[in-house]
Symmetry: C2
Subunit: 223 residues, 2 copies
């Protein structure tokens, strides 16, 4: 059985979870407290970070969510979420990088890491300037989602792709905290409502972190 | 003709340049002053970052160096630098991510960005705490390169791969500044000496930034 070492609110882990559900792959999850730096875990991934996938045949795959998604697209290509042509795949990967690099830096780190990860890691109080920056930056990205959806069915084109899964992985973590101003961004909200109703999201929407309950509308499909 | 929008000391741009030389692809380079936020450039890449590749047929490829390398491996697969099996490719991509994410965060940003990019962006004096952190962190990564080379011919296995190209792209930028303590790390030095002598590195070793000359041994193959 495949095993995914993860943390519930980590967007990279959510990305892999959602992709594996979309591909109907069976796996078990193990919540890895990375801050404990368990030696057996460091043997699997010397970087000490999640997600780490142990595939069938004990194949260890790690490094970043994108390393794991490229691997899964190779070993389980159907259904595929990267696109058919090299140009389509370049666009899907551009948007994956947009959300997993740029959005992470400008929004996720400022909100999820400040509000939750700092607490787990014992790194002190959240930095209020970072939180203000995260709240300010998110509007630009939600506008971009709306702009893309005015022109395309899904973020990268006609088909749902890893671009949507990556964006939803980050936004779902922020939505858990109640930090997404959906009412100001009807285009992005419509896109997320479509994505959220997929069976692949059920697992993520059932997450419950002890001591940090989700926002009221987090798992509500009609939010 | 292919065009690469780049900045000379940006490791992601160097990675793409070295890969295209290894693949014997013709291209022209255009140094893009990203801080000027030129509107024609923002139309190509709304993220406003380099590298951006314009491939034959005016295909725009951008998002991150890894997006471009995946594209080039697809459209120009020979010679390939990702490995033959899914397991080999997972290991190459894990190490690419190690150097392009973890090493970048822990070393490159603290040294190249603080010392050079801040000056170009008019962001003030370098932060001395960041520079100290970069100098402290680099030892751990050079040890890791030495550890890998004790067990393998190249970083990811028997063959030279994108793992080596990614690590060399970052280290060459730091070496331009004279910030790599080679004498303390003979294993890493031996690996870099082998890589540095490849014809694909000539272009990068000829870089010259006005007002910031390279370290004395930067282009010396017998350093």
């Amino acid at each position: 059985m495949r095993i995914l070492y993860h943390l519930p609110l980590d967007p990279g882990c959510r990305l892999v979870r959602i992709l594996m559900r979309e591909k109907a792959l069976d796996f078990e999850m193990y919540a890895e407290k990375v801050w404990e730096r368990r030696s057996e875990f460091l043997t699997l991934n010397p970087a000490g970070e999640v997600p780490v996938l142990i595939d069938e045949g004990d194949q260890v795959v790690c490094g970043s969510a994108m390393v794991i998604t490229e691997y899964l697209e190779e070993v389980c290509p159907e259904p595929g979420f990267l696109g058919h042509t090299a140009a389509e795949r370049a666009e899907v990967r551009r948007l994956m990088s947009w959300f997993d690099d740029k959005f992470r830096r400008e929004v996720t780190v400022n909100l999820v890491d400040e509000k939750l990860m700092k607490r787990f890691l014992g790194l002190g109080e959240p930095n209020s300037a970072a939180i203000r920056a995260g709240h300010a930056n998110i509007h630009y990205h939600l506008d971009y989602i709306g702009w893309l959806c005015d022109r395309r069915t899904w973020l990268a084109g006609d088909d749902l792709s890893l671009a949507d899964i990556t964006a939803a992985a980050h936004l779902s973590a922020l939505d858990y905290l109640g930090d997404v101003p959906w009412k100001d961004h009807p285009g992005a909200k419509d896109w997320y409502a479509r994505f959220k109703s997929r069976p692949s999201m059920r697992d993520v929407l059932a997450d419950l972190i002890p001591g940090a309950p989700p926002s009221k509308h987090y798992s509500d499909l009609d939010f």
